[in-house]
Amino acid sequence: MSYFAFLSEHGPTMLLGTVTTVKVLICSTILYVIISLIFGLMRLSKNPIIQGTATTYIEFFRGTSLLVQLFWFYYVLPFFGLTLEAFTAGVVAIGMNFGAYGAEIVRGGVLAVPKSQWEGAFALNFTPVKRMRKIIIPQIFPIILPPAANLTVELLKATALVALVTVVDLTFEAKQINSITWLSAQCFGTALLIYYIISRFFLVPFLRWLEVLAARKVGKDKI
């Protein structure tokens, strides 16, 4: 069976799987960005309870494996009467796991904003909320976006794991087709290529564009 025959027969199924993969990617990226901003800022709080909560959360999710968390959300939570759909469990597990890594990036970003900016805001008598919202947060984006971009590419790869909790994504379809046809090289090779194309030609250029945009916002693009 030639590769083209394989593609014309199984290509549409794989593309359907790719759509699910992209859906998981988008949903969990939104979740992880929100979580990292919240927990990253909580981590910098002076209140020991808030800071402790954030530290515990971050250490817990960074200390255990994503796969374990994923299975925990999908197979163990029903024991507590909370049954999540496979897609939801996947998005929540990935979002919370990467949120923990992202929180550390946000923390680093806030700490990297020059001290004079804090002092300037203080001298101008800004309230703490206004100082964060108007001065500090806009400036952290150019700092955190490059590491966050790496993390997002990692996230794309991590979405493959949701296939193991029965989400019908690209990996799941590839496995399925493999078990029917036993054309392993074609199935998994195509899947690898699709992931590569998504990352190299869509995700990474988009993230670079965001980086340029963020740098332009604070007038740092003319380097």
Binding site: S65, V68, F71, S184, A185, L192, Y195, R200, V204
Partner: protein
């Protein structure tokens, strides 16, 4: 099914889980050892005199870095037998992890080499040191502390990615938990114990790496004792 945590069941399966933990540690150790060497090869492959080879290796590294480890595992495990190479799940897993994380480690090495100031290279050139001597005595001792945080993080990273090996049937911790859970139809305790074992191993490892990082920086005179 009820939500109650059963201590007797947890204690009953604990020895089995701890035994499987040894396999996980072994897998992470072997995988890391392969990755450090593969990383070096990838680095050298990108520093050859030929531009075409450099670009080719660079693209391979990019490809491996931007595709999921899970599918790579399936690829190696299912495709190699089609070419008449039948390897055990263990060997396949180790090769794949070694290759996958080797690409990451090559980036760490590259960053470390580029982190050594250019003046150091120039001074070696001026003093007419041989390139072996330059690397051994001047560059590598300075590149090493830069590489340590990255290398340490990927050691923990490999450790946390070993559960993926269970998908091709390597009998490590996660595999054991799934087997035990399936046998008794109780997943609460096995998966929770797996999580706890991972926590108890990876958090001290992370702290330990941070300590080594500080010690090396201290020995290099990059920071002073008062700064700790």
């Amino acid at each position: 099914m009820n939500a109650e945590w059963r201590w007797d069941f947890a204690i009953e399966i604990l020895p089995q889980m701890l035994l499987a933990t040894l396999n996980t540690i072994l897998a992470a150790g072997i995988g890391y050892a392969i990755a450090t060497i593969v990383g070096l090869l990838f680095l050298l492959g990108q520093r050859t005199p030929s531009k075409i080879i450099n670009m080719f290796i660079r693209e391979i590294v990019e490809f491996i870095r931007s595709t999921p480890l899970l599918i790579q595992l399936f690829f190696v495990y299912f495709v190699l037998p089609q070419f008449g190479i039948t390897l055990s799940a263990w060997v396949c897993g180790m090769i794949t992890i070694g290759l996958h994380f080797g690409t990451y480690l090559s980036e760490v090495y590259r960053g470390a080499l580029e982190g050594v100031p250019k003046t150091q290279w120039e001074a070696c050139r001026a003093l007419n040191f041989s390139s072996v001597y330059t690397y051994r005595k001047i560059v590598l001792p300075q590149a090493f502390p830069i590489a340590i945080p990255g290398m340490g993080n990927y050691l923990v990273g490999i450790f946390k990615d070993t559960p993926l090996l269970s998908t091709i049937g390597v009998a490590e911790l996660f595999h054991a938990a799934t087997a035990v859970g399936g046998y008794h139809y109780r997943y609460l305790e096995p998966y929770t114990i797996v999580g706890l074992i991972f926590l108890t191993l990876s958090i001290p490892a992370a702290i330990w790496i941070r300590k080594i990082e500080k010690n090396v920086n201290l020995a290099q005179g990059k920071i002073k004792k008062e700064q700790l």
